[in-house]
């Protein structure tokens, strides 16, 4: 049986494919380009900050640069990456389905994403955007830069996000294989399902608020302009109502990858399947009630500060349940230490440290000092990027054999992962200290006493970049020259490994009938 890679050939068969696996690969290329672009922006920012005075940018260029770093990384990489690449590729396979529920919609969501990305990047051409990815009014509505173009681009990317989410929800409800019960779905499916719910509910609010900004910017309607009776702080409420749940859109799929990686490589069932599945839903729900913790000093009532503070802590409890469950899953396992497991180990440190500093910044009196400083920058990079980026890389390595039918070089994998994790820690630990010392965010010149910490951070960023370059290098090598992979090289019990490697167009040779759970390591692995 021919694989999905070779069934049809020609550029058209890829660009017009309705196969969820090929669409996943298209997304993989697009999001990888976004990661590289956002990473180059980040490095330029870091090198500008090596000296306290101006180096090779001016204030406006610097502001454009961090804005586009944020927009590209958040909206074009972290929000879509795991659902559109690995969700697309593996969610149907984990359900034993031949494809997603709406294959044409799936292809449409890819082109809508591309259109949005092109519009976002076109805004660079029309003068860039200098408002920060947060688009705070009234600065954004009065900025002379291409705010409306970028906001429209993000809006379009949001449409793609909704289409993907909708597709996944329907797929999970309708296309589960015969006998596949809800409580026997792989945990990655639960994570993607919870994410899809947030995408469908929250993204319209983002679209609405950005439309208001774009309209306000273009025609000066004064929706957020106090001179005309508008309220600038209203925008922050609307924006964070999406953008706080968006944090969980980014981290929940990563958590799904963690669950798969941990169980597979420790050959053990999760210490509590229900705890992991339901805490995903818990995070998705509570995540909608915590947006106010971004605005403790923005002019909220004291009562609101108290309420948002305590609600934020419940999210941390759900995350703690997951961390605890993963750790105990290792116990009595039979652990194979591979590149994904090294990423998992890095994830555990970054996620717990980033998560607990999240509770710290939700502690209202401490937040007064920390908010809008580098402490917050370091915190959200630890939890969002540290969490999502490490698990994105873990997922590439974990599923590489199934996706491409070849193995990656394990030793190089461990080298790359070490570079990424250490580089990451060296980049952002100095930024926690910068925030403590009072260095505000988004400063392109700064008092000289902060310099040595900036230099340390830039050095770390260089290591991180090298780690990523090494990773990209050997993965491209492995794509063509890696040793052929068996059907189930990790001896996993999850359903996607039942398919041939690489899978045929409709995933399985025969319709899948589920006879055991996805983590039944005490049973033989029978297709």
């Amino acid at each position: 049986m021919t694989s999905y890679l070779t069934e049809t050939t020609g550029i058209k068969s890829w660009l017009l494919t309705k196969d969820h696996k090929r669409i996943g690969l298209l997304f993989m290329i697009a999001t990888a380009l976004a990661l590289i672009l956002g990473g180059v922006f980040a490095l330029l920012l870091r090198f500008e900050l090596v000296n306290p005075g101006p180096d090779f940018m001016d204030g406006l260029t610097y502001n454009r640069m961090f804005t586009h770093h944020g927009i590209v990384m958040v909206f074009l990489f972290m929000v879509p990456v795991i659902p559109t690449v690995f969700g697309n590729f593996f969610l149907p396979m984990m359900l034993g389905a031949p494809d997603v529920a709406f294959p044409r919609l799936n292809l449409a969501s890819f082109y809508v994403y591309c259109a949005g990305a092109v519009i976002v990047l076109a805004s660079l051409w029309f003068g860039g955007v200098d408002t920060g990815w947060t688009f705070y009014t009234p600065y954004s509505t009065s900025s002379p830069t291409a705010v409306a173009t970028a906001a429209f681009g993000v809006f379009v990317v949001g449409v793609s996000s909704i289409l993907t989410g909708l597709n996944f929800i329907v797929t999970v409800h309708t296309l589960r294989a015969k006998n596949l019960k809800w409580m026997e779905m792989p945990l990655f499916v639960w994570a993607i399902y919870a994410t899809a719910i947030i995408q469908v509910i929250a993204t319209p609010v983002l679209g609405m608020s950005l439309t208001l900004v774009a309209v306000d910017h273009a025609w000066a309607l004064g929706i957020f302009d106090p001179n005309m009776g508008g309220d600038p702080v209203l925008f922050q409420h609307l924006f964070w109502f999406y953008s706080h749940p968006a944090v969980y859109i980014m981290i929940l799929p990563a958590m799904g990858v963690v669950s798969e990686v941990v169980c597979t490589f420790s050959h053990n069932r999760p210490s509590s399947y229900r705890a992991i599945a339901f805490s995903s839903l818990g995070i998705a729900f509570i995540g909608f009630l915590t947006w106010g913790h971004h605005m403790f000093v923005a002019g909220m009532s004291v009562l609101d500060v108290g309420i948002f503070g305590i609600l934020s802590m419940f999210v941390a409890i759900f995350s703690a349940i997951k961390v605890f469950t993963w750790t105990i899953t290792l116990k009595h396992g039979r652990i194979r230490f591979t590149t994904p497991m090294l990423y998992f180990f890095g994830f555990m440190f970054l996620f717990v440290f980033g998560g607990m500093t999240g509770v710290a910044v939700a502690t209202s009196s401490l937040d007064v000092h920390w908010t809008d400083t580098y402490f917050v920058v370091a915190h959200f990079h630890f939890i969002m990027v540290g969490g999502t980026l490490t698990m994105y890389l873990a997922a590439i390595h974990y599923w590489f054999p199934k996706m491409f039918g070849r193995m990656y070089p394990e030793r190089w994998g461990l080298v790359g992962a070490t570079g990424v994790i250490l580089g990451f820690i060296f980049t952002f630990t100095p930024q926690f200290l910068l925030g403590n010392a009072g260095m505000p965010r988004r400063y392109w010149t700064y008092p000289a006493e902060y310099q040595w910490l900036h230099v340390a951070s830039t050095a770390g960023a260089t290591i991180l970049a090298l780690g990523l370059v090494v990773t990209l290098g050997y993965l491209i090598w492995a794509l063509f020259k890696g040793p052929r992979a068996e059907r189930n090289p990790w001896d996993s019990r999850s359903y996607e490994w039942l398919a041939p490697t690489p899978p045929p167009v409709h995933n399985f040779e025969a319709p899948l009938e589920i006879t055991r759970g996805p983590y039944d390591y005490h049973l033989p692995e029978s297709p």
Partner: protein, 386 residues
Amino acid sequence: MNEFMRKLLMLPPQASTLARSIDYLHYFVIITTMIGAAGVAALTLYFLIRYREGTGRDRNPPPDTRPHHARGGVSLWFELSVFGGLLALFVVWWIIGFSQFIRIAEPPPDSMTIYVVGKQWMWSFAYPHGAGSNGVLYVPAGRPVKLLMTSRDVIHSFYVPDFRLKTDVVPGRTTQLWFEVKEPGRHPVYCAEMCGPGHSEMRAEVIALADADYERMIQGLAQAQVAGPVQGLAIPFEAEPREPLSLAAMGQRVAAEAGCLRCHTVDGTPHIAPTWAGLYDAVIPLADGTQLIADAAYLTRSIMDPAAEIHRGFTNVMPSYQGILTAPQIGAIVEYIHSLRDVSRSPGEAPLPAPIQGTVPLVTPLEGTAPGEPRAAVPNSTGATP
């Protein structure tokens, strides 16, 4: 212990009465965070090593007989107590943090009020007796001070790291921030909300003075002696005026006070804005490709409307000083630039101007466009939309 932890975590000095207790909570929270993250990483590492493949410690194969949702040998009670304990810890943080937040939010009834206006990209302050200053906020040490703040354009955020305090400054609203500085001294102020190309230059300084010095300062009667590092070009404070100031010297003082010298150098060193050295009457290229002579008229126009004719190679980050500087002050600055006409434009050749003798009032009388005046009619309206 306090000093050790403060320096270890690189926290700035604890200059306000609230800072120390906030820092204690900071130490508690951060130490717990580090223990938590290190503990989880250590436990993970231990399991990774102990249960690695080939050690024979695993339970499968042979097929295990655990119930379907086994917890890896961990009892439900243990699990519940872990999460209960964690929640209790977080609630303790919340209780302490929120009670501190209430103290931060509620100014003592006897606090004196100073009005603050944020504007791209400078801070203006107006004092109860009708005086005003730009870029430097004078406060009495040992007395609670309440700032009533608003913005003329976009959202700014008034941030004093040494006080551990920050509040957004929002157009159309009046927000407040109070503090009590423990001792006389100087403390940097930053804008913490991105407000445009000049955001990172939107800095100021709080100068806390002893009570008597403050009173004299605010009435414009005398200058105070202030110790500490000086931002920008140092202006020595004189207790007694020795002789009347020349117009250029007055201009130098006004330029330092208004923040001009944070971007414009006077010795030819390239910086954020065109240097003033040798600028007067020089032919300068403009951003639109034309040229003009930087005469007194151009310099005056540029102070009032900086965006109109921009020197080529520079970004417009300068705020308009219209309504902020008085006509005599602008005249003094132009005269000061005039006095720098013969300074070489290449750095290092000309010595810094000698310290000025004598004095002018640092605090200028309030103009008709007094910051905060209309908003001051609604005191304590924090968070309310007018």
